[in-house]
């Protein structure tokens, strides 16, 4: 009896211990997690404290940190080593988990944290050569003494923070996911930059384009996927003279052999990580000095991708946003200049079909002979499972991501193909930012840009001397016209990248007569530009809207620039809707919601306002219409862009593509538009209930800012937002302006900015999501570029002195 009681009690106790001590499923281990002395209850403690003094081994001299009322640190150091040491320390203090998680993701190490579920993801990172590219960039950074010193000082600063942590003070997400931080390294900084390269240059539709060409032929491809799309208003003004002697352009190697790849599912739609930037010169502004604006659009997460900081040393005084994990300021301004970036979108990623000699994959066909592959062994540790050893075969093009018999992790990755990607090349992008942070004028800006490889960006520039400029900048392969639009032949040397476009031949413009420069991810140039850089850019809507507004504006103030960033007009609707409405007759519609919906569209000014129903109606109508036009012919093939579809139905409402080939009668737009309208109303009713306020854009679409690891409770879902991805205010369901900045190049420089999050990455901090609501409203905060630690004292809340040991 006693024994039985003992056994029952002991079994229950052991079960309780095990159940609480071990991580079960997605939940954290509840014993350590709930422990009020070391678990999550500790994660509000100290996160918002601003100590007056700290001693840090590794500093060379005291560093003064001044905190403003938005918890932006203003770092005043006596030398650059201490400056970047302090940046690393402060960023880690606020954002350590995010920094490490992003680099774990880039390196394909998420399985170490969450187990087998992430194995396919990790394998794909390894096979795309993320670590390989990062390792090569570390070697390149090591060759540049000032760059390497910056990276090493930053690394030491991050590690100075990590060394202060213990299990009770680990950031919250480590406790939820049950793992521990590891030391920071320069490789992690390189991995972060490769992660950005993947985000901004990693979309690719060559496999789908190749299948579509096989089905439709070359002339249909030229019509449906034009090299220069309809309605386009390019970044460089069309009348721009090219003042350089272009290199000889390689000639195409003749017809390519038919692709041998097995059909795969269609490529997923391009996520279009778009952005806007522009600068206007003094002739158009009230102050007589340039104004510059930038809002990069990215996947919106908490913690935010950006961290605001001012960096001041004897060599630099710069303010702006940094990427946690990287030293220097990435977008910002100093006392003389301001700069911003949008994604360039030029093609720097090609897939090459590979013919292996045999199953050993030791050699591949090239130029009539065989070339050896180089195997690279990747070791993927898996939590709660066996370590996976993965061999990736590298050709001179790059890694063969998936062997012919393997299932790729992404639909956009063709099987049996090698990846030639600019992010595999040694590069020193950080040097660009190091120099931009210190730039005093246009020449310094140009020099800084020459060090930049990937992800290529449109760098907008303005300075207090009155210059404005914009360069489509990065390292671009020298291609024949159309090279890399389809899968390339890995056997044929003529398909290799043939060299590089010289940096000074990149598309760029300085002080154009029209008085402004702008970019919104659209085509960089009109067809007069001698080099071929790619074909798949953002459609015209945002770029054309920005240009028409800037051309019309005069006496511009910073508030006007802010208003333009919030402009909600969608040019696609303005281009197409009148034609569609002309085909609709209210008398043909049943009374009630259908007639109300039509009236709402007729009254609409094409603005995507949160409270309006018309935008929801238009988006649903267009989606139905586009589906009806293309589904019969293309089904699972590539679908043309919405700009091409718009041009098609405006030019020829009876075009054969509009006909539904599955029916005997011949349909035209006159048939499709009313049918699509009716179907849209049905779809919206199913999704949101009866016609009414639930159909308003802000509720039917809205925006979710999710946690970076999608942990419930740590995001900000269901924000009632205006905007759309084709409007200047490019706010979508999970994407949007990740930082809005307006800079007036007066003396002194004035600036305003805001990102949808907060300075702190700690969910227990009062500064975790501080500015989310202000972002929804479209507010901007004045940004403080201090000349000394005591300036603007009314907005400063505390001072911390970091003392060397």
């Amino acid at each position: 009896m006693r024994l039985a009681r003992l056994l029952v009690s002991a079994a229950l106790a052991v079960a309780a211990f095990a159940g609480l001590h071990v991580k079960l499923g997605p939940l954290p281990p509840l014993g350590p997690f709930l422990n009020p002395f070391a678990g999550f209850w500790q994660n509000g403690r100290g996160v918002d404290d601003l100590p007056t003094s700290l001693t840090l081994a590794g500093l060379q001299a005291p560093v003064q940190i001044v905190w403003d009322d938005r918890r932006v640190p203003h770092v005043f150091a006596r030398n650059d080593h201490d400056l970047y040491f302090a940046q690393g320390y402060l960023t880690a203090r606020d954002r350590l988990w995010q920094m490490e998680f992003q680099t774990h993701a880039a390196a394909g190490r998420i399985s170490e944290i969450v187990g087998e579920a992430a194995l396919d993801f990790d394998r794909s990172r390894r096979r795309l050569g993320m670590i390989y590219g990062a390792e090569r960039s570390v070697e390149a950074m090591r060759q540049d003494p000032s760059l390497w010193a910056m990276v090493e000082a930053y690394t030491a600063g991050v590690n100075a923070w990590i060394e202060r942590l213990g299990p009770a003070s680990f950031p919250l997400e480590y406790k939820i996911l049950d793992y521990a931080p590891e030391p920071w390294t320069p490789l992690k900084t390189a991995l972060l930059l490769k992660y950005m390269s993947w985000t901004l240059t990693g979309s690719n539709n060559e496999a789908a384009m190749t299948r579509t060409r096989a089905a439709l032929g070359d002339s249909a491809m030229a019509a449906l996927f034009p090299f220069y799309p309809p309605f386009m208003d390019p970044i460089i003004p069309p009348d721009h003279p090219w003042r350089f002697e272009p290199l000889p352009i390689p000639s195409p190697p003749g017809p390519q052999p038919a692709a041998t790849l097995q059909p795969a599912v269609p490529a997923s739609p391009d996520p279009r990580n778009g952005s806007n930037n522009w600068a206007v010169d003094g002739s158009k502004t009230r102050s007589g000095r340039p104004l510059l604006a930038n809002d990069p659009h990215l996947n919106l997460t908490l913690p935010s991708i950006w961290y605001e900081i001012q960096l001041h040393s004897p060599t630099v005084n710069v303010y702006g946003v940094s990427l946690p994990g990287s030293p220097a300021v990435i977008i910002g301004f100093n006392e003389r200049i301001a700069w911003g970036v949008t994604n360039a979108g030029s093609d720097v990623m090609d897939w090459y079909e590979i013919e292996f000699r045999d199953e050993r994959r030791a050699a591949y066909r090239y130029d009539g002979g065989w070339r050896p592959t180089t195997p690279r062994v990747e070791t993927i540790r898996v939590r709660g499972g066996e370590t996976v050893i993965d061999t990736v075969y590298y050709t001179h093009h790059g890694p063969v991501a998936y062997l012919p018999e393997e299932e790729p992790a992404s639909e956009a990755i063709p099987r049996g193909a090698a990846l030639r990607w600019i992010a595999h090349d040694p590069s020193t992008e950080l040097k660009t930012f190091y120099l931009l942070n210190r730039a005093a004028g246009y020449d310094d800006y140009r020099e800084a840009l020459r060090h930049y490889t990937s992800p290529a960006q449109n760098f907008v520039f303005a300075d207090t001397a009155g210059t404005i400029a914009l360069w489509h900048n990065g390292r671009f392969p020298l291609r024949w016209h159309g090279q890399g639009r389809y899968l390339s032949d890995g056997r044929n040397p003529a398909h290799d990248w043939q060299g590089w476009v010289p940096n000074d031949h990149n598309p760029g413009v300085v002080n154009p007569p029209r008085g402004f420069v702008s970019s919104a991810n659209q085509n960089p140039t009109d067809p007069s530009y001698p080099y071929y850089l790619g074909w798949d850019y953002a459609p015209f809507e945002r770029g054309a809207r920005i240009n028409e507004r800037l051309a019309a504006m005069s006496d511009i103030t910073p508030a006007d620039m802010q208003a333009l960033q919030l402009d909600d007009v969608y040019l696609h609707a303005r281009t197409v809707l009148p034609t569609l409405l002309a085909l609709m007759d209210a008398a043909d519609l049943p009374p009630g919601p259908p007639q109300d919906a039509l009236a709402a569209l007729r009254d609409w000014d094409y603005t995507y306002r949160a409270e309006a129903i018309a935008p929801t109606l238009y988006d649903a109508w267009w989606a139905e219409l586009s589906r009806r036009i293309w589904q019969d012919e293309l089904d699972t093939l590539m679908t043309p862009g919405r700009d091409v579809t718009a041009a098609l139905l405006l030019d020829d409402p009876a075009h054969p593509f509009l006909d539904d080939v599955r029916t005997p009668q011949r349909e035209t737009l006159r048939d499709l538009a009313p049918a699509a309208f009716e179907a849209a109303l049905t779809a919206l009713t199913e999704a949101h209930g009866p016609y009414g306020p639930a159909w308003a854009l802000g509720r039917a679409r809205g925006t979710d800012i999710n946690h970076l690891a999608n942990i419930p409770g740590l995001g900000r879902p269901d924000l009632v937002t205006s905007g759309r991805d084709g409007a200047v205010n490019a706010t979508g369901r999970t994407h949007g302006p990740s930082w809005r900045m307006v800079v007036s190049l007066t003396s002194p420089v004035q600036a305003w900015g805001l990102f949808p999050g907060g300075q702190s990455g700690h969910p227990g901090s009062a500064f975790y999501d501080t500015d989310v609501d202000a972002w929804v409203r479209g507010d901007l905060h004045p940004l403080l570029l201090l000349s000394d630690p005591d300036a603007a004292a009314d907005r400063l809340v505390a001072t911390t002195t970091l003392q060397p040991e």
């Binding site: 229950l12 106790a13 009020p36 994660n43 009770a168 409770g713 227990g764």
Partner: protein, 125 residues
């Protein structure tokens, strides 16, 4: 008395080390030496650890952990209510500590006649 003793020992150990399982070790040890019954072992453990964790959680939740507790209460589907989370914290500790406490007593009772206290194990006979 046992409750207070356990609670103070637990507080000292938890304050100085990050290990959660003191809430099982301490009641087990107490019951092994001093509990009068399985129920006494359970209650002493449950009350000391449960009160300590409940109190500490409430104290943190009312001060520095107010924001994080609300977020975790959402993550765990507790409707964002931090007080429910504090209650759950106390209950988890109470259950684990109680089972450890009763096991401690039953182990002693099952050991061959090593009488460490007056009439140890008597209520069980």
């Amino acid at each position: 008395m046992g409750i207070l003793l356990c609670l103070l020992i637990l507080l000292a150990l938890q304050w100085t080390t990050p290990f959660w399982w003191w809430v099982m070790v301490v009641p087990f040890g107490y019951a092994l030496g001093w509990a009068r019954s399985g129920g006494d072992g359970f209650l002493t453990g449950a009350a000391s650890a449960g009160l300590l964790w409940l109190g500490a959680a409430l104290l943190q939740g009312l001060t520095s952990a107010d924001l994080v507790a609300a977020r975790i209460a959402t993550m765990l589907n507790l409707g964002g209510a931090a007080w429910v989370l504090a209650l759950a914290t106390g209950l988890v500790a109470a259950l684990a500590a109680g089972l450890a406490g009763s096991t401690g007593f039953y182990l002693r009772a099952a050991l061959p006649t090593r009488q460490t206290g007056k009439d140890a194990g008597k209520p069980d006979r």
